[in-house]
Symmetry: C2
Subunit: 359 residues, 2 copies
């Protein structure tokens, strides 16, 4: 079945509140919706998140790139999805977030066309996953209040953004840890520490009996030896986020065991196929896997939820960005029950439903 | 859709002529057919080749293992194929050839059930591949005669078994090379040389202007440093066959760049899913890929043909074992036009057709 059209539509989604990480602050999601339509009317959706500070993709470049390369898709058979994805990559380099949106739309269209839900297409290993919830950099009081409100909704795993101010970070993590004592705490420095600060930070937390399970991207993404230093001196697993985009990056950190865990985000690696390659490298080398997200709606999250459920290979799930959006442009992709993300009732593709508004 | 039954049937297929490699000689294929049937009548086929000297799988153990673990499959949903395959592996270790047969039957049943040919399920990157043809250890005259007969049928790539007698091997390769001068020559020592013999052998051939493109498994499979020595001193790419079974093995050879090429065989790695993982590791680390086979019929070869076509990732194709069998128990899987193996007309699954005999 041939591809009839590729549309690209700006999606401006206001955030519930501004989101701050060590490398910047932003107040709403300027995303992009990609809609691939086949000649028989089958549709596939993908979303590009504006994650310029990480991947170089912003709303306007995403629109430019999709318009530029979509003629290479129109008229081609959706059944040759791997060839199509290779073809797109032979046209233009970088822009992994945009490629992820395009590939997700292609895979959604294809699995809708063959009538198989994506998580089953990927192996159907499980029907649901449990996500953490992310707490941004704020006062200990505000962070504790937010943590308690999520705890009441059933969340047991909290990921705290740190990496901005050593002492303030410590206070905030300790405050949250005391407020929700039986919960799992993860910290994410988003490159904000030096290697030695990072080692001091994680050992300090560990010595305070915080139930800390993961230390994500403590140092500068290019500082491979610094990252290895932290891993070698951390009592808890260290994860690479910004350091690992592709399977080759994963191979290079695995080769020297620079980290214990790789955080896959489709917007970094460019889509599900490359993500499967990273999973393979991690499994082959004994590393654990995390799956994360950019600030994206259920449309962009759905392929990650299906990937995690379908393969069953992820030890750490961080797919919570839909919580921070005031509205969702289209429904579907997965069901939500507190921290549980459930794909069991998806009948085909990603299960994205077109709302009346969008039509 | 649930699995109704798993049958295991001995397949004794006489070889056209006895086949000799450096580590042994055999005169017919004692294989096994696995038939997975779903509750709606959908069928999937897999074949186990008796490759005990490489993988430890022989006909009787394959039958034992399938009977032992098939209760874990019956009643399960075929749509959870990745879960099923993990479940089987959680029951018993090793036996990769038997697992490959089982997994191939599961994937054939699943892709038949969803109505998608396996090569498209894997991405539909291409519709056909070109295989080499293997010439066993014999006199230079006989090898030349065989090469010429295949050349007349359109073959342009010849893989010569070597590794038994340095001087005889050299004479035979030179004789074939002179008889089919514009063709590509590959040599496979099946672990038969010492590292220094291997280096002398490949450089001697290269100095004689033989159009040599690949040197497969020159030394003992466990001799990683010996293999690296050959790779570092060979003017042509060196491939690991027996040295690499799984994605972890691939990672370990890639880490030190022990070889240039990895030869994937489903019977070694245990099936298509692990093969995809090896492909990922090889791509991530810049290694090339070869796909090979045991002595198996079209039933066992079909998943490899679909994998190679579907992914488009293989630089060296060695899927010729069906040529050495006097009869094929079931038809289908792919079409043959000389060295070309074609999947274009497969409508669903592997396209294996049940013959009247088998019914």
């Amino acid at each position: 079945m041939r591809i009839k059209s590729v549309e690209v539509i700006p999606l401006n989604i206001p955030l519930v509140e501004p989101f701050e990480i060590a490398i910047g602050k932003f107040s709403f999601a300027e995303n992009v919706l990609i809609k691939v339509q086949l000649e028989d009317g089958t549709v596939g959706y993908g979303e590009v998140s504006s994650s310029g500070i990480i991947t170089g993709d912003i709303q306007s470049t995403a629109i430019d790139i999709v318009k530029y390369i979509s003629p290479a898709l129109v008229g081609e058979s959706i059944e040759r999805y791997r060839y199509l994805i290779k073809k797109l990559r032979s046209i233009i380099k970088f822009h992994p977030g945009t490629f992820a949106g395009l590939e997700n739309a292609i895979l959604d269209a294809y699995t809708n066309y063959i009538g198989v839900p994506l998580y089953k297409f990927l192996g159907g290993a499980s029907y649901e996953i449990e996500s953490d919830v992310t707490l941004s950099i704020t006062t200990p009081e505000k962070a504790t209040e937010t943590a308690l409100s999520y705890f009441e909704k059933g969340y047991h795993i909290f990921k705290l953004k740190v990496g901005k101010d050593f002492d303030e970070d410590l206070k905030r993590v300790l405050a949250v840890s005391e407020a929700v004592p039986d919960c799992e705490i993860r910290v994410d420095a988003n490159q904000g520490y030096t290697p030695k600060e990072a080692v001091r930070f994680i050992n300090k937390l560990y010595s305070k009996d915080v139930n800390i399970t993961l230390f994500e991207q403590p140092v500068y993404w290019k500082d491979i030896q610094g990252l290895k230093f932290v891993t070698d001196h951390s009592p808890v697993p260290v994860a690479a986020d910004e350091t690992v985009f592709t399977a080759t990056d994963a191979f290079n950190v695995a080769r020297e065991r620079v980290v214990d865990v790789i955080n896959i985000k489709l917007a970094k690696c460019g889509g599900v196929l490359e993500a499967l390659d990273i999973i393979a490298v991690a499994k082959a080398s004994g590393l654990e896997l995390m799956i994360g997200c950019m600030v994206e709606s259920n449309i962009g999250l759905a392929p990650s939820v299906h990937l995690a459920c379908g393969t069953g290979e992820f030890s750490y799930i961080d797919l919570d960005s839909y919580l921070f959006l005031k509205e969702l442009p289209l429904k579907g992709g997965f069901e939500v029950d507190g921290p549980r993300l459930i794909v069991k009732n998806i009948k085909k593709g990603l299960g994205i439903e077109e709302s009346k508004k969008e039509k």
